[in-house]
Amino acid sequence: MKVIAAMSGGVDSAVAAARAVEAGHEVIGVHLALSSNPQKYRSGARGCCTIEDSHDARRAADVIGIPFYIWDMAEEFHEGVVENFLSEYAAGRTPNPCLRCNEKIKFAAVLDRARALGFDAVVTGHYAQMRETDLGRTMHRAEDPLKDQSYVLAVLNKTQLDGAIFPLGDTHKEEVRKEAKRRGLYVANKPDSHDICFVPSGNNASWLHDRLGTETGPIVDEDGTKLGEHQGAYTYTIGQRRGLNLTVPAEGGVPRYVLKIEPVTNTVVVGVKESLAVTGIVGEKAIWCGPAPESATQYRGFSQVRAHGSPLACTYSTDGESITVALDEPLFGLATGQGLVIYDGDRVVGSATISATL
């Protein structure tokens, strides 16, 4: 096949590209420029938006022996990921920008462009496995449970996944680093990127403050009694315990958690842990990574609500548009806006954006 290897400048995408070459594909390396001003979103060499990273990607392509180009996706990234991140926070939800980036950039804008230019697929260094099963080509968790990225890929529909190749899904990260070294890729020991690539120093709250402004509002308990003040409701997340700075002490010293964020009134509601308990989840904009489940049928499976969260045993059903989940055990603290991903064993069934918790 003729494929585009998306190369971030990190070790994973470099090894993925090298493996794609070995698998016999005709590979062209592409680095995505996600900011029109490379230093705009972040400085230092940790993220995916720096001059150093594009040089690292170029050098890796040289070593592997493939052509290399830079594609300007700054506009798409800003509109599809950064603005979405801001508007979701402003609306009191907690978005996951990596999900949006996979959905709107890597496997939409890039894959579309690649297909139009005559390529068949996009290769990335994500840790997930595509397998041929009785259900067709389906996506499964990676071999390395610590690196498994099937959660952030669950926003891809069947058509997108048909154009996706993940050569690292069957390998542990430490093996990938060894392999990079063996292949002479000097990014072999480059640290993993963490945090959100466009937020400098990983400090979400101050980044949001700079962009959404500071607006003092009340922190109240479940009865509406004011317990303190905050500088912007959007910097809180459901289930948060630290950094509340409450002026009224809790009765009996019982810890208090963020229960609710009300963007319209700029109010943060706090309360005891029990009030955070969630047993039901509703997600909208369902996406199926393989065959769609039948409507109005109850299925047993697992829900995952965070990138590195545990799978939670559940019963789920769908009407085609939304997914409704009943958890076996309550979950404490769940923000709307996050991704709900449904698994059948290690197979990814699909995903939805959490719109309500029960």
């Binding site: 680095h31 490379p38 720096t50 594009s54 170029r58 180009y69 830079i70 300007d72 700054a74 139009a116």
Partner: protein, 387 residues
């Protein structure tokens, strides 16, 4: 089949230049040393200087060797600015054309940000010629405040040759610098006849080696140096002379000069053949800056409805090397500031590709381009339409 159409970026070294480089690189000696070996290397450098001066219509003492064209342009721009501002603190205006190379634009921008310069850009016409009426207006209104005027001799992206003689007449006693990197050895370029104050030449654009260039600086005129040290090159550019590269530069210049008129007509005909061959399959293309006089081998073509980086990728995969204009430091393609200055829309500027031909190109290479260009453009159009 591999076809190189990016000779304006760099062009193969001529055999004469390779031989000269190989010969000189084994010679021991620092051209500044006083002993026999030093004098021997100095002799080779001075002969090279005389040769380049003769071809460029300058006198040998006017040639200041530098490490790159960018360095020569920086030396002229910053050197004139600091020198003339030092003489008269009101002289902080720099006048440049709107489509100068980044080796002029960026030092000028830097002086504006850090050294209090005020920059005035002279507009260019849709055909890619600097607007002399506008220049005259600017000079008339700012004469006493202008430190330096810089207008390129020929544009590197579209090839049009600029009326430098007329610019010098308008400038009067204001120094005029001209970046002649693309012109030297390819079209008639005579420093003395132009009466410019300084000009930049570069070896690797005429079949010489990388890493050597020259600033021609009129006799009796000084600029503030950027590099201080051993006092080489009239105390204007310190640094041990790169004798092998300088000797090779001269050999390349001699070779280019010897064949210049013949190559000009060959390349001009080859360029026309390329344009006609592409137009035969894609009638809606147009050529930017398609006027006389121009550099012989540059064809800047707009392929409406495409993204030029998609075109470049697909042509590269067919073994055809072309260019999209400039990229930022991280390598992100930018719409050409040259084409924007000429009045093209950002969309059309992003759909344009430069083919620059050199002596090595053949008609069969152009036939190869013509045979694949339609399918390449179709795919590039589909890619843009999907966005």
């Amino acid at each position: 089949m591999s076809s190189y159409f990016d000779h304006a970026a760099t062009t193969p070294m001529s055999k004469a230049a390779i031989d000269a480089l190989n010969n000189q690189i084994s010679q021991l000696g620092n051209a500044s040393s006083l002993h026999t070996q030093g004098r021997s290397v100095r002799k080779a450098v001075e002969e090279a200087r005389e040769s380049i001066a003769r071809i460029a219509g300058a006198s040998p003492s006017e040639i200041v060797f530098t490490g790159s064209g960018t360095e020569a342009n920086n030396l002229a721009i910053k050197g004139f600015y600091w020198k003339r501002l030092g003489e008269d603190s009101a002289r902080n205006v720099i006048v440049i054309s709107a489509f100068e190379h980044h080796a002029i634009l960026d030092p000028v921008e830097w002086l504006e940000e850090h050294e209090g310069a005020h920059v005035i850009q002279v507009p260019v016409t849709r055909d890619g010629i600097v607007d002399l009426e506008a220049l005259k207006d600017i000079v008339d209104h700012n004469r006493a405040k202008i430190a330096v005027i810089a207008i390129m001799h020929s544009n590197n992206e579209i090839g049009t040759i600029q009326p430098i003689k007329e610019v010098v007449e308008i400038a009067g006693d204001i120094p005029v610098h001209t970046d002649a990197v693309q012109s030297f050895g390819k079209v008639d370029f005579n420093f003395d006849q132009l009466s410019a104050t300084s000009a930049t030449l570069s070896a690797h654009k005429v079949g010489g080696p990388l890493g050597v260039a020259a600033l021609i600086l009129r006799r009796g005129i000084d600029v503030t140096p950027i590099l201080h040290g051993g006092g080489q090159e009239r105390d204007i550019r310190s640094g041990t002379l790169n004798a092998p590269a300088i000797v090779s530069f001269a050999a390349a210049a001699e070779d280019a000069d010897l064949h210049r008129i013949q190559r000009y007509s060959e390349l001009r005909a080859m360029r026309r053949y390329l344009i006609d061959s592409i137009r035969a399959v894609l009638p809606d293309i147009w050529v930017n800056g398609d006027v006389e006089p121009s550099l012989p081998g540059i064809a800047n073509i707009t392929f409406p409805g495409t993204e030029s980086d998609g075109l470049l990728l697909l042509l590269d995969a067919e073994g055809i090397a072309s260019s999209t204009g400039s990229a930022c430091s991280a390598g992100v393609p930018r719409p050409s500031h040259v084409l924007l200055a000429m009045g093209l829309s950002e969309r059309d500027a992003r759909s344009s590709l430069r083919f620059s031909l050199g002596a090595s190109n053949t008609r069969s290479e152009i036939d190869h381009v013509a045979s694949v260009i339609e399918s390449v453009v179709d795919r590039a159009r589909a890619a843009l339409a999907r966005q």
